[in-house]
Chain length 238, copies 2
DNA sequence: GCAAAAGTGTTGAGAGTACACCCATGT
DNA sequence: ACATGGGTGTACTCTCAACACTTTTGC
């Protein structure tokens, strides 16, 4: 850190932007974690993130950290604010509040490639939060859990699932996203196809086809907008 | 202000908690606004709120401001975090980020009663944001709009509507809440009654009755929990 | 009795599910 | 030919909205 001192008439806070970066790799929902290089929690795992600079919009800081720590550019992702965590004792360094963001991406470059945090890695979320959970620094386990729940519920009533797909994708690829994120066995392919095609303004046909290893080639689509889905894709919660 | 100076190694932020306090008065959705007593925007209207103290949880600060500026106690309200606004230039005093909260309440005491801000008042939201909108300080117009939208959508899939009702209420009172907040003409009383009674774990009958000016007396209920509604109460968005 | 509001019954339209079936490709 | 996944058709179920109707009060 620099020797510069900052002075204020008001109680002093520092603000960080922390990121819950989610993607799908090998048919599993994965989150980007970094190994901390300094105190506190040195060597422990944490969400990527960092301090917001003095004259930087918080959202801009989130995009900057995303590029620095994950090598992801704004046009590769969907980013939205999750919530702010501000318990007085959440950071041993002092009074730090963090604004957390959920980031969805289809691009999943191995994060070691030329980034600040060479110790970044993708881990399946069910391993991080599951039976023998990975211990995360600060309150990051809570932030991660909140971020995953946000992503799950957003799939229901927005077209956000497309953010996990490449720019041009098939209905089956979109269906896999729903199955993986919701953790359900199999959505009926026929019904899913019809349902998703019935939603106005969600998918636009490209005219291209994509051949898989087996079976009939499928049409490809691009997501049209971020508008709410009508009707929504509801998950069963009996 | 005190003469105390605060010093830090990190970029300095101040953090405020701002409140979108909503209630229903005279069959209209109303928001609590205060007249600012100091610069900037002195004399202008703003959302109630204030600085978070140095060792105070942000949520606790929200409850404190709620009591100081509106005379409302935690048990009288439902409070939930809305989002954080952190544009670098949003406050002319310096780098201030605000964590905004949505507060729903049935109690609507006239706010002048013994509070810090004797200049607080309830205003109908459609007058504040409508045709000739009231000008609000900072980015508070945006915050208010976001808060109202949050309240509207929360009515669909949570039992939050009950927060606008007294502790013991009738199905008709609950129905008025939906009509007023969503701005719809009339929900069918019969269908609404059946729908709301079909939701597990939402309403518990008290055994009491309430007589209105006219018509058959109705049973009264208390809201049972904050659990999600299944099935949800969906609003039409044709 | 009449008006008004609570609450119930009935019915018809539409949405969702299960599943049969056809289509287009690789092997 | 046959296996595989894309995509469509069909019929049954369930939900929901419209609205008729009964109940219980005040006037």
């Amino acid at each position: 850190m620099s020797a510069t001192k900052y002075v204020s008439d008001f109680p002093i806070f520092s603000v960080t932007a922390d990121l819950v970066v989610l993607t799908i790799r090998d048919d599993r929902l994965c989150v980007l974690l970094v190994k901390r290089g300094g105190a506190p929690f040195k060597g422990g795992m944490a969400l990527p993130g960092g301090f917001v600079q003095a004259s930087e919009d918080i959202e801009r800081a989130a995009y900057r950290e995303l590029e620095e720590e994950a090598g992801l550019k704004p046009e590769d992702v969907v980013l939205e604010q999750l919530r702010t965590y501000g318990a007085a004792d959440r950071d041993p360094r002092g009074r730090v509040v963090t604004v957390a963001w959920v980031v969805l991406t289809a691009d999943a470059p191995e994060p070691t490639a030329g980034s600040d945090a060479a110790d970044a890695m993708w881990l399946p979320v069910d391993e991080v939060l599951g039976g023998s959970p990975v211990s995360l620094a600060f309150d990051h386990a809570q932030i991660l859990a909140d971020g995953i729940e946000r992503a799950r519920s957003k799939l229901e009533y927005t077209g956000l699932a497309a953010a996990f797909c490449p720019p041009e994708f098939t209905v089956a690829e979109l269906r896999r996203v729903y199955e993986i994120v919701w953790g359900v066995d199999t959505l009926d392919p026929g019904n899913f196809h019809r349902k998703v095609m019935a939603i106005e303004g969600f998918l636009r046909e490209t005219g291209n086809m994509k051949k898989e290893a087996r079976g009939r080639p499928s049409r490809t689509y691009v997501a049209e907008s971020g508008v709410p889905l009508h009707p929504p894709m509801r998950r069963d919660r009996r």
